[in-house]
Amino acid sequence: MNDNRQNYLSAGDTVGSWLLTNDHKRIGILFLCAILFFFVIAAVAAALMRLELLTPQGDLVLSETYNKLFTMHGVLMVWFFLIPSIPNVLGNFLVPLMIGARDLAFPRLNLLSWYLFMIGGFFAIHAIAIGGVDTGWTFYTPYSTAYSNTHVIEMALGIFIAGFGSILTGLNFIITIQKMRAPGLTWFRLPLFIWSIYATSIILVLATPVLAITLALMILERVWGLGIFDPKIGGDPILFQHLFWFYSHPAVYIMILPGLGVISEIIPCFARKKIFGYKFIAFSSVSIALIGFLVWGHHMFVSSQSLYAGMVFSFLSFLVAIPSAIKVFNWTMTLYRGSISLEAPMLYALGFIGLFVVGGLTGLFLASLAVDVHVHGTYFVVAHFHYIMVGGMVTAFMGGLHFWWPKITGRKYPEKLAQLAAIILFIGFNLTFFPQFVLGYLGMPRRVHDYAPEFQIYNVLSTAGASILAIAYLLPLIYLAWSIRHGKIAGPNPWRATGLEWQTASPPPTENFPATPVVVADAYEYPPLDDHGEPT
């Protein structure tokens, strides 16, 4: 470590000191290791799927196996990687530091969140190990309740349990941000990352319980042999979809809002300038969270939902795009008259903007009722959400990980290698997913492994891109791990960034701050610049 003082990493090196920790920073690391594990499994599933899709015939794996692969990929990526990623890793680590607190409001509840996540994950992995699930991550009834012969109940139970961990995390963040800010840290002086975590936590707390009851009802129906989604007693399979998407649409905002918050932290630092439109960015996070609860029906335009409901959902879905657009405009304006450097976090942030804009614009296509009728259930949708989730969220996660790596580990990562990885990611990602927009409009349905021959060229391009993307993720895995022992020692503030987290040692001591900081300035108060881009 960098100096003789105790920090949170050196304060105890037994297994027990990690597994029974109450320290939010250690819990963040525990989550990092856990989500990495699930990410690798889900990525392997994706690799197998992309290999299968090289040829039009379903010849690499059986249909049943392919169906289990895409289900496993979706479930693990959504609930065991994306949803916990930034909130439970970066959020856990940074929220108390950024607000000048000693820990979260309920440290033991935080540890409980991790255990719930791990128990849920155990059930999910076990369900996969003993044969898997083939319903798709969306579990539509009546296939999931009455027709699938796979381990639906165990998988759903795993998600249910992990969901409670999610709820407790959101609860913890809300209380912490609301009640434990350092003296002088008013709402409009908070870093925008905190605003985004707060908005995310509102969704976590209000939407996840609906998922819980939906899964519970599905499990009950499957066990009982009949239920409220069963047409034979007058039940409605579409009710399941309404309940499921009432959670799952806000869930995608759980996934992206923290990423948007990370970008709002990186851009001012690497442009050395106060962010443009702070209040608008802050309010846009809250608007996305709120409007995001009102658009779930856009997943159901062709489900036999009423036309008029479709129209309301379509209009609101267009509106929810606007706060996101506002963020992008504000980030771009922040660069004006700034002093820009292109270290890895900034490259990831710029890549994010590129990919998120494409993903967001294709969201407009999907919000358009008539176009959605054509592209719903096709690879167009697959491309859209991967642009947002992978091109957006995972890229933001990588950017944030690199940005705060020195704070978390006390070490720098190898900069040139990291910049290379960021560029490879951008190229590989576009090659993987852009052809899928073409495939979608051509009419290739999703969740198929046997397809019409005219789709092959785009599938081959996509698989080629995926192999490049894999390198872009493997590289950081290797050099970040390497840097933990061998990276250059980092000081408290290697990026000369504003923010309370940079005012304490790298890595921070267990208690975060020797004395409670007092905040007197707004966020992102970078000094004025001279013509060379250095502080005057």
Binding site: P96, A101, R102, D103, L104, A105, F106, P107, I167, L171, I174, I175, T176, Q178, K179, M180, V205, L206, A207, T208, P209, V210, A212, I213, T214, A216, L217, L220, W224, G225, L226, G227, I228, K232, I233, G234, G235, D236, L239, L243, T516
Partner: protein, 213 residues
């Protein structure tokens, strides 16, 4: 203002911050529970609208006596819970223990009455499935599926509540609940009241609607 939490955990700056945080935490948790039960209430509302006639017939088959008895039991238990918290404010540990025991006893009585009620429901063939009462139309099974799911979920919450009450019981016996430090008891009380309120919504929907005529 009564100082209700004199043991301040190290992440908090002072007792006031801890009190505010824990109270906000519990209210937030109750919000999640409302959303959780909400899915069931939504399903009930929707199916009641589409199958008014079947729900009408089905509603008359729940046992009004057991339902009402349980409502009285649960309301009384909320009273004893309030009295327990009041006794804690007055530093009367013995009274706290007595009222907590009474609350736990009433909670257990609720579950016992429920067990009798469920037994009768099964005998009356009100379990959806092949043996469902032939005198009722098929869609009445939707009502009863929801009946079993909602009362079952509620009963699970009663059990959890009783667990929390038992923990409070032991903590009080060990002197850890007293006038300066009764926040955990108050929060447990809030949870118990919430479970009671859920029942106050279930009761009319499952037992009282369509009882006239």
């Amino acid at each position: 203002m009564t100082e209700k939490n004199s043991i301040v955990a190290e992440q908090f700056v002072d007792a006031a911050q801890q009190n505010e945080a824990t109270a906000l935490g519990l209210w937030t948790f109750i919000a999640t529970e409302i959303l959780f039960f909400g899915g069931l209430f939504l399903a009930y509302a929707i199916y009641r609208h589409f199958y008014y006639h079947e729900f009408d017939l089905a509603s008359r088959r729940t046992d009004l006596f057991f339902g009402t008895l349980n409502s009285v039991i649960l309301l009384t238990s909320s009273l004893t819970m309030v009295l327990a918290v009041q006794a804690a404010k007055r530093d009367q540990a013995k009274m706290v223990v007595r009222f907590l025991s009474l609350t736990i006893f009433l909670g257990a009585s609720f579950l016992v009455v429920k067990a009798f009620e469920y037994h009768k429901d099964i005998a009356d063939q009100l379990v959806p499935g092949e043996k469902f009462n032939a005198a009722l139309p098929p869609a009445a099974q939707l009502f009863f599926w929801l009946y079993w799911a909602m009362t079952g979920l509620h009963a699970i919450h009663i059990l959890i509540g009783m667990g929390l009450l038992s923990v409070m019981f032991f903590l009080t016996r060990r002197g850890r609940i007293s006038a300066p430090h009764f926040a955990p008891l108050e929060l447990t009380g809030l949870y118990w009241h919430f479970v009671d309120i859920v029942w106050l919504f279930l009761y009319p929907l499952l037992y009282l609607v369509n009882r006239h005529a």
